[in-house]
Symmetry: C2
Subunit: 209 residues, 2 copies
């Protein structure tokens, strides 16, 4: 599994021409890093006398963040798996009309599956951005810059997810699938980016930047 | 060393209340991921007949990117080291006027040193963003979305670096140091963000997004 490699090895493998990890896996990892920073802020808030009034809410945030983090980490390897399927289709023969038709059908299916991972990255990043909105309000003020870094990572993960959805959609012929996937993507981006930019602006204001 | 831990362990440690890694180390890692994607695009370009006219330039980009990646990875652990020094100063006694003065002086020095790492993250991310500008022009078009993801990660690393500079500067009394560090930071941000946004817009245009 890619996430069992050391950080150094992972980054070195990413930089190589090996097929995985690629941009999709990088997006999932950057999202996991973002949500982990939110958890860190939560963990630096619970158990503090000053923040006892919000403790129950922080514990809920921590539970959600833990699950989002695990899902995003899983997507690093899931992205590699679906990318492997697309790469497999590229190797299929295309000498006869029958082979071409079979290959096109297999490509359509593999690309649809390959869209699923970055859409999921976008959905999970959006959920994590909403947690950061709460953390910017009620989390430990001494760790406010970490809320800011977290939300910056999540925004990068979200837009990177979008870039990977687009490149897969560009190869898909099923217009209905393309339209409905675009609709989901636009809805998530519209809502998530507004919140992410608000959280970032709020953190900057608190820091006096 | 933090970068010798597995990706999963690193993210889990980041999410905990352990002092390191924190936002600074996360910024350095996200920058390393960004520049690694640039290298990947370069590695998918060299040796291809279609791109033989730009091969010499791509090889230069790959050399620069390799060194930026190594420096950014080193900064993950360097950030932990300087953070450790700040944490050490917090534990110094402050019972007498003399102890207070000694502690304040030590804090001033530790915070100045703690500024150095995120400023370096910003400088290296800026250099890597400039490499992505070239890659968007001459790199393998099949990997254009990875140029986009790379530059998104680098922008997040740059702004995360800024956030960490600011939080350290907020504790520093030396007005000359604060002013000159702010000047460096503003110059890097002004130049780097314009290029990053241009590269991102260009990739989106190529992808038809």
């Amino acid at each position: 599994m890619l996430i069992e490699k050391s950080v150094r090895e992972f980054v070195e493998l990413l930089s190589s021409k090996e097929p995985v990890p690629g941009g999709g896996g990088a997006a999932a990892l950057v999202g996991a890093i973002g949500v982990a920073l939110g958890s860190m802020v939560g963990n630096l808030t619970v158990g503090k006398e000053k923040y006892k009034d919000v403790e129950a809410e922080i514990i809920k945030i921590l539970e959600s963040a833990k699950s989002l983090q695990a899902e995003l980490l899983d997507l690093v390897d899931e992205d590699a798996k679906v990318f492997g399927k697309v790469a497999g289709v590229y190797k299929m023969p295309k000498n006869t009309e029958e082979e071409k038709a079979k290959r096109n059908e297999a490509m359509e299916q593999a690309l649809k599956e390959a869209c699923r991972v970055p859409i999921k990255i976008m959905e999970l990043s959006y959920e994590a951005i909403k947690l950061h909105r709460k953390l910017a309000d009620i989390g430990n003020r001494l760790a406010i810059s970490d809320v800011g870094v977290g939300v910056l990572c999540l925004k990068a993960a979200l837009l990177s997810g979008r870039m990977n959805v687009i490149i897969n959609l560009n190869g898909i012929k099923d217009e209905g699938f393309v339209r409905s996937t675009r609709d989901v993507m636009e809805r998530i981006c519209g809502e998530a980016l507004t919140i992410a930019d608000d959280v970032y602006a709020k953190v900057k204001e608190i820091l006096g930047d």
